[in-house]
């Protein structure tokens, strides 16, 4: 399988303000006791500081990244036929009624585009969106150029997704083009386990406790016992499933994969991935963890860009982008450089 669609360019935007994770742990009252015999969340997470949007809106993060990728690629906004917002946490207004895609269309002047938002997948929403975008572009001649973007801003005092990671605010954008011969998307595989739909969730305004002055109803909430009992035992099995699926669709083998883009959750998570799939640590982009922590679905774009810019990915390399999302979703995409 080859979708015939390539990545023309990608960009990200990180707000300038930074906050040290030690300050985040203090402000968010994160437990100090070790997670397991050999893992101490606060000591071993491997993240030094994250970017914080403060007064910048979630939409502006995605918009800045979109403007940046247009400038980088020289694509005329009038060429864009399709815009998809793949943000995985709440934006300015309530979804699914609204998404930031309309504002981005208006602000960049993509007057001929059809815009929508993919609203499922958690951190794998980039893969779900790639699957949808590539399908629409393959099935219809009129969708030739697509802009995919995300802008994530967590509410104040919700930067820690304990016991997984610490969240950074930021935006990302990618331009896809039919017939683009470089950075070709060979395959995209997505799998979901619906029984895990409520491991990670945000309660919402309608479930708020009026006495809650900390807006916990707008915070990411974890069912930790369910995470430990049902997600952990399935996680690597599902990674294997989607990566094999992507390789099979493209007719390629794991040994041919030159480089991996994997989420920047924590040191112990990256180590577990490398060990489970016998991937040498130098074949996985891990530097982003210390620099900025985890950016939800934008990890897949940001780390990909930095890996290219810093010389880890070279012409001719086969690159695997793989992630899990919100406990219920897994994605893998193969990109031929």
């Amino acid at each position: 399988m080859n979708t015939g669609i390539g990545i023309v360019g990608a960009s990200y935007y990180l707000p300038p303000k930074r906050k040290a994770v030690t300050d985040i742990f203090r402000d968010e009252q994160i437990p100090a006791e070790p997670l397991a015999a050999n893992v101490d969340f606060q000591r071993d997470i491997g993240i030094e500081a994250v970017h914080v949007a403060s007064e910048e809106s979630a939409t502006s993060l995605g918009l800045n990244a979109s403007r940046s990728v247009l400038e980088k690629t020289g694509i005329d906004p009038a060429e864009i036929d399709l815009i998809i917002d793949f943000t995985s946490i709440p934006e300015e207004y309530i979804a699914p009624t609204w998404s930031a895609a309309g504002i981005v269309q208006k602000e960049i002047g993509a007057t001929d585009a059809f815009v929508t938002a993919v609203n499922t997948g958690g951190c794998a929403s980039y893969h779900t969106t790639l699957k949808v975008a590539c399908s629409l572009m393959a099935a219809h001649d009129r969708y030739r150029t697509a802009l995919l973007f995300a802008g994530d801003k967590v509410p104040e005092f919700n930067h820690t997704y304990y016991p997984i990671t610490v969240i950074c605010d930021g935006g990302s954008a990618v331009i896809l083009k039919k017939g683009h011969e470089k950075q070709q998307i060979l395959s995209v595989e997505v799998a979901t386990l619906g029984k895990l739909h409520d491991v990670w969730y945000i309660p919402g305004f309608h479930r708020r406790d009026p006495a809650d002055k900390d807006r916990k109803w707008l915070h990411m909430t974890a069912n930790i016992p369910k995470f430990n009992q049902e997600v952990i035992p399935m996680n690597l099995f599902m990674f294997r499933k989607v990566m094999r699926g992507a390789l099979n669709l493209a007719g390629r083998k794991q040994q041919e994969v030159a480089y991996y883009i994997y989420p920047t959750f924590s040191t112990w998570d990256q180590k577990a991935f490398c060990q489970a799939f016998m991937v040498a640590p130098e074949k996985v982009f891990t530097d982003g963890l210390q620099r900025h922590g985890h950016l939800q679905e934008t990890d897949m774009v940001l780390d990909y860009i930095d890996a290219i810019d810093e010389g880890h990915i070279k012409e001719g390399d086969l690159v695997m982008l793989t992630t899990n999302g919100a406990g219920f979703s897994w994605g893998a995409a193969l990109i031929q450089h």
Binding site: Y93, T97, V115, G194
Partner: protein, 330 residues
Amino acid sequence: METQVGIAAAAVTLPARRRDVGSLFQEESAILNPDIAARLGIEEVPICNGESASAMALAACQEALRRAELDVAQLDVIVDYTILPQEYLVPAWNMSNKLQHELGAKKALTVGFSGGGATNFLVALSSAAAMLQANEKLMSALLVAADVTIPGNRILNPSDPVSVLGDAAGAMVLKKRGKGSVLIDTGLHTDGSHHDVCYIPGGALAHPDDPALYRMELDKERFDKAPKSETLNDMLGTLLTRAGVEREDVVFALYPNLSREDQQQFADGMGFSADQINSDNRKYHGHLQGTDFVINYLSMIESGTVDKGQHFLAASHGMGFLAGVSLLEL
């Protein structure tokens, strides 16, 4: 489109409880005079009385799958086109995953779309069809939505009412190379400047705490000015040319049940007569968001208005933000 995708079956779940619009207007302190009643053309709407959105959706899905004679274990894709707030906050959570589990659709992948009002159904229809066409392994898709109105928010724009919202769930099964109505093509177009013509201002990052803003708001002035039927007319022309179908060969239109006035404007603008659009569902159910298409499709099939081989369309202005037109053949 080379590989045909067809509608194999559809089903709707409506809550048993019903309310007449007079009592709803009274409850929401809105004025219902004969002029407004005539413009709306809605007499009553179905209202949940303890039923959850996902429970209604599950029932609709199970019935649609039964009618389609599709083993749920073989289902490949579940697409959620709900437009109102769900059981938890979207996009961090989406009903499609809960349904995947409750249906037992173990091999299905899930997708959901946001924005565009009732047109979100056409986004789901077009995207699901594209996924079946572009991916050899994917053979079937289930479109589903469940919209339950925010309490006290049934009259859209109470100062100058535009619609009355009912509660419902709808489901539609698509099959690759299957029997049933064939989707020929879909056109979708967005006007980003109208992203906030119809939305819920509060409850997310912009205005998290104000209960008065946690309700569907319509900017009536911009809604009225938006070129709705004109845009749909142009889009239909493009679709027909591309498909090589004559305008007079389109014998029926599936159109949202927003109001009598809105349906009349659409019919006048597109050159349809009153009997080419279903109006009974509007009268007895009000506006059910994207599920309007499913319920109107079922009524069209049941009525026998459209014969095998005839063309019909599904169209929606998406409140001036997202316009969509699908051309289909029975």
